[in-house]
């Protein structure tokens, strides 16, 4: 059975198998070929053989890091099919858990970028403080990573006063620490030299290659599903769409730090304004015949789910477009030297990390083709990182 693979409902994040072929001219990168599909598991096909309730845990495992965005998108989609509104309290709880998930994902990413530029102290700091939000997620849902909170028709666990109090306490710590990170990121010269002017994506190119999420917002374009097409309780929860005009990796870092602060405020607002009432309505197992699309702003960008129902208790077709796929084309743009803009081999790791994808463990090698010498060689990811550190140490 042959398939057109390039998609697959997979979400390249932390350390995942993917293959990039870079064409280099001396020290400059002039072309990139991306080979994806190593992670293809066939989730969409598998979903057709399970019923709607059984599919929730499966959808959750499309991406372990932004699992809340996927389950939220899925549950919303099925609710659209039913044409039913869920209780308001459930919508607020959904926003709370979604924003907690965003905080955890952004802190994780800040650490990864610091690690890629060799600033391991910063990496350890962010990951240590990330444990605060992991504890809060565990408090709310019973699990650190896979939350399993969203379900069709509402949420599965309530928030009582004690939990709300502890959430607010945690938010205080996180706010203090995130402000400190902002101070580091804007003042630390080693970070600035490695991030400023690296991985440029102009607003025009960002739109042309359909970039999404923080990558798009760092190019100065105001686009956020939470603001443009509010879902759950986002129509009531105020927040600012963060944009930066620097169009480089530094901008992406600042967008994520500021979004973390926004998310902290949103969680607080939700806890203060959460209405009382039921948290779930029961919906029939089989939704009516029809099609539906739902959109959610995942930590990495816009997540789109499509469902087609034939009236039975199993979906006839389910399609997922995870945000990293949207960012992959603009990644190729960022990594290609044009005219005055040059990409050094040493900057590849941080540009790749900039869109928040994840590199490969198995395919850790990168193939280089030198145009002048017609030489082809292969490096592992770690060899590349070492090279990148050596080059930047020499240039000091």
């Amino acid at each position: 059975m042959s398939f057109n693979i390039p998609i697959g409902p997979q979400h390249p994040a932390l350390k995942e198998p993917e293959n990039f072929t870079f064409t280099v001219d001396g020290e400059y990168v002039v072309g990139v070929k991306v080979r994806i599909g190593y992670m293809h598991k066939g989730i969409e096909k598998l979903m057709e053989s399970k019923n709607y309730i059984q599919n929730i845990p499966l959808v959750e495992r499309i991406c372990g890091i932004c699992n809340v965005a996927h389950t939220l998108c899925y549950c919303q989609n099925i609710e659209y099919l039913h044409g039913k509104e869920i209780p308001r309290r459930a919508e607020f709880i959904r926003v709370i858990i979604e924003e907690l998930n965003r905080i955890h994902s952004h802190l994780l990413w800040i650490g990864i970028v610091a690690h890629e530029v060799g600033f391991d102290t910063f990496f350890m700091y962010t990951w240590r403080d990330r444990e605060v939000v992991m504890d809060l997620i565990e408090l709310l849902t019973g699990n650190r990573v896979s939350t399993a909170l969203n379900t069709i028709g509402g949420v599965r666990r309530n928030i009582d006063n004690d939990k709300a109090y502890r959430l607010k306490k945690g938010m205080e710590i996180l706010e203090r620490r995130t402000k400190y990170y902002k101070q580091i990121a804007t003042a630390e010269p080693t970070l600035l030299t490695r991030l400023k002017g690296v991985g440029i994506l102009t607003p025009k190119e960002a739109i042309k290659w359909s970039a999404v999420g923080p990558t798009l917002r760092a190019s100065g374009i105001k686009s956020d599903v939470r603001a443009d097409d509010p879902y759950a309780a986002h129509d009531e929860v105020p927040f600012n769409v963060i944009t930066y005009d620097s169009c480089d990796v530094f901008g992406r870092l600042m967008v994520r730090i500021d979004e973390t602060l926004e998310s902290i405020d949103m969680v607080r607002h939700c806890l203060d304004h959460i209405p009382s009432g039921p948290i779930r309505i029961r919906l029939p197992n089989a939704p009516p015949k029809g099609e539906s699309i739902s959109r959610v702003e995942a930590p990495r960008g816009e997540d789109i789910h499509y469902v087609k129902s034939n009236g039975s208790d199993k979906p006839e077709r389910y399609k997922v477009r995870a945000p990293t796929l949207g960012n992959l084309l603009s990644l190729i743009e960022m990594l290609t030297s044009k005219g005055e803009y040059v990409v050094h081999i040493a900057d590849i790791p941080v540009v790749l990390a900039g869109i928040d994808p994840c590199m490969c463990c198995m395919d850790r090698s990168i193939k280089f083709i030198d145009l002048r010498k017609e030489k082809v060689w292969t490096w592992t990811w770690d060899r590349l990182k070492k090279y990148s550190k050596e080059v930047h140490e020499k240039s000091k």
Binding site: M1, E16, G64, N67, R128, R144, V145, S146
Partner: protein
């Protein structure tokens, strides 16, 4: 107990290999290396090259494309080598069991020394697996020492 075995037990170097998982286990493996759990206090260190590694940590469902490459990486590791399967998907296929592109469990591909259940397992469980492997290496030494005595 030779010096080499003692060193091996006290400094198991880890190779992290994602075979196509959802990243949940991966972030928990990284969390096990960071300050709160800090598996490095047992001498473990995450390395990039299979040639430096003693223990391979495998996370995620094994997809068809990854299977061959997984075996190549395993073969590159020097003896004695151990494999830890992390997460339900890696152990049995988990939630993806039945998908056309997924292997049913790591032990159909490689010999596995330790299994860590959970979806994803907590970092404590991962630390415990590494600690248990160190005990296993210690016992292996005893067995090899016994064999030597018997031969002698």
């Amino acid at each position: 107990m030779g010096l080499l075995n003692w060193a091996r037990r006290r400094s198991p170097w880890l190779l992290h290999f994602n075979t196509g998982g959802c990243n949940a286990c991966d972030i928990e493996v990284v969390a096990a290396l960071t300050p709160r759990y800090d598996v490095e206090r047992f001498g473990a260190l995450l390395v990039g090259s299979p040639r430096h590694a003693d223990i391979m940590i495998v996370t995620g469902a094994i997809t068809r494309q990854v299977k061959r490459r997984l075996i190549i990486v395993y073969e590159q590791m020097p003896e004695p080598k151990f494999v830890v399967a992390i997460g339900n998907c890696c152990i049995s296929g988990g939630v993806y069991r039945g998908a056309y592109n997924v292997q049913e469990g790591l032990d159909t591909v490689l010999p596995v020394s330790a299994y860590v259940y959970g979806c994803p397992p907590k970092p404590e469980a991962i630390v415990k697996a590494i600690f248990a492997l160190q005990e296993k290496i210690k016992n292996l030494e005893k067995i090899s020492a016994l064999k030597k005595v018997n031969k002698g």
